[in-house]
């Protein structure tokens, strides 16, 4: 790029939305991720969707024999594999997004100096945040597509609504990545980063992934319903089982709030950290 181009870009952005915060060049950050990915252990990342598949086969088949069919709405019974597959997809979207936006970001924040270098260029903090999160989304998209491609032919996810599970997984990833990155910008030590893992396991185990929430006492159910993974599982489960209802919009709204809050405060925080 010629210098004059850079000046032109900078000029054209003057007075625009989020001037100094966002230069509409998050793509450059994404590109950085892509190159680093090709040089790193891509196989570790690429094989990420194997885990939910293994869970699905093990629980869906084996535990499925023990529990029989599950009632999702009055009169609507599904196999156990059909019941847990959407939850596994939503959980893996969460896991991938959280991992990308916490541990990976933490290293670049504290040790690599990648962001410091990026923010010294024309890139703004929102570019960096969007770039990182964009990468997490891309990964979420790949995982969701891989998972669906394996599961659909087996009849576990049915119908064309089922395909909507893929964009749903991306929204889930977006929301968790935004919040994950926000947390990371506040984290001060490895011990604090470890808390991320401490939270993720019970989130997976208790959010209605492996059995319906109806077995819980009411108070516990309300707690779970306030947590984000529950909403993720509900969206994907409803879509993949063809249950289309207004409450879907409510779940989506929950994630929109997460995304807006996460992005806004991550940007502010990045600015405070690097652009004083």
């Amino acid at each position: 790029m010629k210098t004059s181009d850079a000046v032109l870009i900078a000029e054209s952005l003057k007075g625009r939305f989020a001037e100094g915060t966002y230069s509409r060049r998050a793509r450059a950050v994404l590109e950085h991720r892509r190159i680093a990915f090709k040089q790193g252990h891509w196989i570790v990342v690429a094989s990420g969707f194997v885990e939910p598949i293994l869970y699905l086969f093990s629980f869906g088949y084996g535990v499925g024999k023990l529990v029989g069919k599950i009632q999702v709405t009055p009169g609507h019974w599904v196999t156990y594999a059909q019941f847990i597959a959407p939850a596994l997809l939503a959980t893996s979207a969460m896991n991938g997004a959280i991992y990308d936006s916490t541990w990976n970001v933490y290293f670049r924040l504290k040790y690599d100096g990648t962001y410091k270098a990026m923010l010294a260029t024309s890139l703004g903090p929102l570019d960096v945040a969007l770039g990182e999160i964009g990468w997490a989304l891309f990964r979420g998209l790949i995982y969701a597509t891989g998972f669906t491609a394996i599961v659909m032919p087996l009849g576990i996810i049915k119908g064309w609504y089922g395909l909507l599970a893929i964009p749903a997984a991306v929204i889930i990833a977006f929301a968790f990545a935004s919040i994950g990155m926000l947390y990371t910008t506040y984290a001060k030590s490895f011990a604090q980063m470890d808390w991320v893992n401490v939270v993720m396991l019970p989130l997976f185990l208790f959010s209605g992934s492996l059995y319906p929430l109806s077995i819980y006492p009411d108070w516990l159910r309300y707690v779970i319903e306030a947590l984000p993974l529950y909403h993720g599982i509900q969206i994907v489960r409803c879509l993949s089982l063809g249950i289309i209802q207004w409450s879907l919009l409510l779940h989506v709204a929950y994630f929109v709030v997460m995304i807006v809050v996460g992005l806004t405060f991550t940007t502010k925080r990045m600015r405070a950290l690097f652009m004083r």
Binding site: I43, S47, L54, F57, L66
Partner: protein
């Protein structure tokens, strides 16, 4: 500036080589444990939280649905009882493998601490033994806590069920020492460990008859279970815990399998520790 000189009698006077040859592994374990103690509250927290999470969600949560669907229970007992020995073994085996392999990466590659140890009279074999001993010390703690949780949840009964603890530690040790040896032998070990977690530990956890009896799986998947130390530990554990039917021959086979894995593991670990230190 006044600087005190060092008092000196000389190593020939103060060092007892025979004692180091005898106790070297303990010194290595002591150092590892000192390192682990920095994280003592995380370790305690994890040891307590992990059984709570799994017992509540899978044991009781899934158990509720299973028990309502299976009038005679699973393997003749309540789901939680059926699950308990397997969860105990799975957790301890995973913990032991992690604790025995992670320091190998650190010691040979990241911090090179093993080379520092080997510059002293400590031998490669003693390093391997010491690291394993420290790992098993931590796992023993976790195992006792887990067992106590099982007891509180009513998942195990009676004094005889205490035998689950040594059985589980034996199984955990057998797999941990083998993985430690393989880890020492492999150059690209961080990639390797990631792959091990994803393609070995996770499938073993899921397909070793942990959550349902292995015989309900298709034959080709049962093979994974046969190879897995987790399945062997689980079978024997169920026999100890609630009298799961098992033949004498099978019992002998389970123990032999774990014993052979232990012996081979030690051979591999010792060989590769010594070899890699001398590179």
């Amino acid at each position: 500036m006044a600087i005190s000189d060092l008092t000196r009698r000389g190593s020939l006077q103060i060092i007892d080589v025979a004692k180091i040859l005898r106790n070297g592994s303990l010194y290595v374990a002591e150092a590892r444990i000192r390192n682990l103690l920095q994280w003592k509250w995380s370790i305690v927290g994890e040891a307590v939280a992990n059984p709570m999470f799994y017992l509540l969600s899978i044991g009781i949560g899934i158990g509720k649905i299973v028990n309502s669907h299976q009038s005679v229970g699973v393997d003749g007992v309540k789901y939680l009882t059926f699950l308990a020995p397997a969860l105990l073994a799975a957790t301890c085996i995973q913990g032991a493998v992690g604790e025995a392999t992670h320091p190998v990466l650190e010691g040979f590659k990241w911090q090179k601490g093993f080379f520092a140890m080997n510059a002293t009279p400590i031998t490669g074999k003693q390093i391997a033994n010491g690291v394993l001993l420290a790992a098993m010390t931590r796992v023993t703690f976790g195992c006792v806590v887990y067992f106590s949780a099982l007891y509180l949840f009513g998942a195990v009964h009676g004094l005889h069920s205490l035998w689950l603890i040594p059985l589980t530690l034996f199984a955990a040790n057998s797999f941990a020492v083998l993985m430690m040896g393989i880890c020492a032998a492999i150059k690209n070990d961080d990639l390797f460990l990631n792959m091990v977690q994803r393609f070995l530990i996770m499938p073993l956890f899921l397909f070793s008859g942990t959550f349902y009896s292995l015989s309900s799986m298709p034959k080709f998947l049962q093979i994974i279970g046969w190879a897995s130390p987790l399945w062997h530990a689980t079978e024997v554990g169920r026999w100890i815990s609630y009298g799961h039917h098992i033949s004498h021959g099978a019992l002998l086979f389970h123990f032999s399998y774990m014993a052979i894995m232990t012996i081979v593991g030690f051979k591999v670990a010792h060989h590769h520790f010594v070899k890699r230190l001398a590179k």
